[in-house]
Subunit: 422 residues, 2 copies
Amino acid sequence: MIVELVSVGTEILLGNIVNTNAAYLSEQCAKLGLSCFYQDVVGDNPDRMKDVIATALSRSDMVILSGGLGPTQDDMTKEITAEVMGKELVEDTHSKERIQAFMDDYIKTNPTMKITKNNWKQAMVPKDALVLDNANGTAPGLIIEENGKIAILLPGPPNEMIPMFENQVYPFLQKRQPEIIYSQMVKICGVGESMAETAILDLIDKQDNPTIATYAKTGEVHMRITAKAKDEAAAKKLIKPMVRELKVRFGKNIYTTDENKSLEEATIELLHDQGLSLCTAESCTGGMLSARLVNVPGASEVLKVGLVTYSNRAKRKFLMVKKSTLKTCGAVSEKTAKEMAKGGNFVNGTDVCVSITGVAGPDGGTKEKPVGLVYIACCYKNEIMVQELHLNGNRAKIREQATVKALTLLRECVLEHYKTKK
Amino acid sequence: MIVELVSVGTEILLGNIVNTNAAYLSEQCAKLGLSCFYQDVVGDNPDRMKDVIATALSRSDMVILSGGLGPTQDDMTKEITAEVMGKELVEDTHSKERIQAFMDDYIKTNPTMKITKNNWKQAMVPKDALVLDNANGTAPGLIIEENGKIAILLPGPPNEMIPMFENQVYPFLQKRQPEIIYSQMVKICGVGESMAETAILDLIDKQDNPTIATYAKTGEVHMRITAKAKDEAAAKKLIKPMVRELKVRFGKNIYTTDENKSLEEATIELLHDQGLSLCTAESCTGGMLSARLVNVPGASEVLKVGLVTYSNRAKRKFLMVKKSTLKTCGAVSEKTAKEMAKGGNFVNGTDVCVSITGVAGPDGGTKEKPVGLVYIACCYKNEIMVQELHLNGNRAKIREQATVKALTLLRECVLEHYKTKK
């Protein structure tokens, strides 16, 4: 089945917002085994919308539209799609009740607000359409079918669109597939994208069912294995040997096979399982590493303190880096990174401390210590692992890469001891 | 002039990458006064590409394509566009020399690499096309004109595309405009989006030349004032009274009128101008605030240390928060926020300390202290400003908002004293 994505909204055409909805929906379609050949963006203009929607419905089997379902005159996605598909609009009592309830609730906390006539426009739906409840807003979603074509209309705000897709559209599409599509994620760190691709080139070359798709993230590679089969059990059976093969090839570089788990989450879990407390000691990343660890709910049980020791004075005071080390080796050196990590544990009584010091640029680079030179160290009790990195890109990119590398080193360091403990 | 954006690449259709190029190019077109009515994404498929490019050239005056200029067989943007526009490909000696030089340089650091025959494909250009040098890669950009239509071909990687657009395409388009388009940015913080819009509703309603466009960012609103005139001086003259009016309405909430200056940069500059040293004390944001300040090159002259005191113990040890305060008021309280800010200065000998403590969720909320309750404080020498925030959204959104609010409070606090000093 060929699917086309149409995003409606002048704010996308003006560059006010990045079209993350299209990226989300594309990935979901790929996961469902649907082929997406086109994405379109069109503004809130009836003629151009009509043109784009009619073209999409003529060349694709299914069109997923997002945006333009709001209560104002500008919001015309539903009206135009219904017109193109030859459907009249009728009032949907269920949606009307939901809008009333949602607004009543909203007015409770915003007493100056009123329900205006506009709002009831959202209760009008194309005849025979399947109505999708919106848990986070007033605009219902819609699935319209006519002449073997399907149009799926979703609200634009991601916090309304994503839950609606996940809970209602995904199961709908899954049921429609002649075969079950099942996919399994394998996430790896500590292996570069090209090295990862080279390592599985033979698998990609002979891939058929299941297929492997690689997604490069900063410092990580995600691999999605997708199989088609008559039922879930059969699909899982096809996927299993491939996952096993990847485990052989990437070993402990695989940090999770859970789609929704991030590297920081896997790392915090690992520390938590071992009952280890953590401290971070950052210079050029300025808190990026601790901020990323704190992304994980409940990180406080592991991360006790984060020290951003940007000045030499702070490195000495909070991490007990020696004056002589800073003088002879400099703030950006293997020795300083090691002393930062060791000092962090000593000062805070933590089990593990990970440190980062480097030249993020654009200024401050020298011939000996160019922009992109970063040292990371991890001290587990009293043993220290250290790495010298040569990173490319601008200031933000260098700091982001250093952060992921430090997370990876932290994970490695804990795993190292995990093994010896057994 | 009507412009259409075509992004080429299967990786966008699979959702592997977010189409940030389209957002960038759209904003640039808006800045140039060009109307963008459509954005399209198409994969590396010759028939579908031909179809999309021909449609775009028929309904728009100018088409900007990005992606598909690489050396492989899959990269066909140039070949297909040339075919649609009826242009033959010829070898461009200048581009060939540049590719040779780029590859020679690359091979120096990667001695196992070789120039393959593929690479010379990139030196072929449509006859009479204007060739745009690529400072960061091997694929030249191209401007092709035929029958009153213009096609502009740019490489896909943003680090190649953006400098090429800025340095070569933007000036080209600016010269083509019958009138000069000039725009001026006004960035404000500490005023919500809807409040900002309400405050300028009358200006928007009667806008003609110049126009105002508002861009909502987390905790900030950016306003772009754009004027058309016969020359730059005349355009600036049209813009000036509008900027003056915005200054009257938003006062010190305007943190810059420089397009490229961020809130953290403006804040660091302000502190630097006053010779003030800074320390940050964060709990729920976990280092987001210090990481954002360190985005600014040279931040080290101002930010001395950042403390992520995630545990109560760390709050006591590093910020001297009183045990009794944590016990009676709790870690998330006005009193704790104040003591954190005061303690930060005391411990570090800094002039200014800004603190954040809150419930970021999803767990940990109570009836008295629900998820989203955040206290921020700023201590300037010994005077303290404090704010209680009630933020909405998920964990990441709450932390991001708290970070911007803290930056805004920090700026306010310094400005307050700046005034009294004079």
